[in-house]
Symmetry: C2
Subunit: 221 residues, 2 copies
């Protein structure tokens, strides 16, 4: 995974600049819409269920959006479904520049917040100012997890890789840092958004530990 | 592209069945959520801007969702943004069984509607009945294009590959069926959802024709 700042890299739209007489606001929006194509190239640690390869951030974000619309009934507090879907659609955009930070890799999370803040400043600045501020506010809302919508969005973000690991009989649970206690800390993020889904996640983790797909904590964990 | 009906294929969740004491409604929902992982393996004809490979349906659906939230201001009629995002998130699900039907491939669209209807019946039946009906209603709404939300969703579905072709200096415009008139028929779908975005799409198509990225109609087109 490359986490270096590629500040000198051209924008994707520079390969084929938009007509010069296009309205400036629309030009900035279409520049951004093109640039975020890069999210499709940011690989996560999680394996797909449907193919023998790792998932990328765009696929992951789509999967969460669908899960929000199908599982919203289990939110612990009433949520605005459309707003929650928007949160998951944008929640990983900063990884275009900051890279994915696998949760079970202790080295990956060092400096993660600073990297992602810098990435947000850089990426969102492509948009018209009002939309840059709006997107930043949505991302901050997701990160803070202080609204019912953000908590449910985060719950989906925890539940989805857990399901992929379950179907894959291991997946990222095989990473060195994925001890039972580390997995249960992730599971707590599901509980915070949904008691029912948190209970189901707990059942899967219990069973995965029993089957040896998640290793127990050792004396040094 | 494989368009055969894989009716005898097991569900992804069968590789690792959910605990038997899980609530039946939730079990059906998680079975569906797992099964739709297959959308990440349905390849479209469109090339990515950010990598040298074709786009898949999950990535495409995510891209449209982001575009809806950023470009909604250009809808010809006021739209419910959250509802429109939901439409684009689910609009290609039937292609899990029916496959993608590239618009510039005349052979691909033969029998497309029947294939997709059968695919919807099969896929949505995994869900609890109320949600199967709800998803079918959303998909029908998108397909019919009779609401402002469906028209804007379709406009994004036409504009996004056009942008990818523009940045790729050709892309699917290089397919045999992609004459100027065929491309302009697709452009009409953008206009129906947004005059401003339709105008911009028209400018890009004009310029692409001028540069030779889209071939003029011949005597047999």
């Amino acid at each position: 995974m490359d986490r270096t700042e590629k500040t000198d890299e051209a924008l994707l739209i520079d390969r084929s600049p938009l007509p010069e007489d296009l309205d400036e606001r629309l030009r900035r929006q279409l520049t951004f819409v093109t640039e975020v194509d890069r999210l499709k190239t940011v690989l996560r640690a999680s394996p797909l269920a449907a193919a023998d390869r790792r998932e990328n951030d765009a696929e992951h974000s789509w999967h969460l959006a669908l899960m929000v619309s199908l599982l919203a009934e289990y939110a612990v507090e009433p949520i605005d479904v459309g707003h929650t879907v928007t949160l998951v659609v944008i929640h990983d955009l900063v990884e275009i520049h900051a890279g994915d930070s696998p949760v079970f890799d202790p080295a990956a999370v060092v400096g993660q917040q600073e990297r992602e803040e810098a990435a947000a400043d850089r990426l969102f600045a492509l948009l018209p100012d009002d939309q840059a501020r709006g997107l930043r506010a949505l991302w901050d809302e997701f990160e803070a997890g202080a609204t019912p919508e953000a908590r449910f969005a985060k719950a989906m973000d925890r539940l989805q890789p857990l399901l992929l690991n379950w179907v894959g009989r291991g997946g990222t649970w095989g990473m060195p840092g994925a001890t039972e206690s580390a997995v249960r800390r992730r599971e707590a993020g599901v509980v915070a958004g949904s008691t029912t889904l948190g209970d189901a996640a707990g059942r899967l983790v219990d069973e995965a530990v029993r089957r040896g797909w998640i290793r127990p904590d050792g004396p040094r964990d």
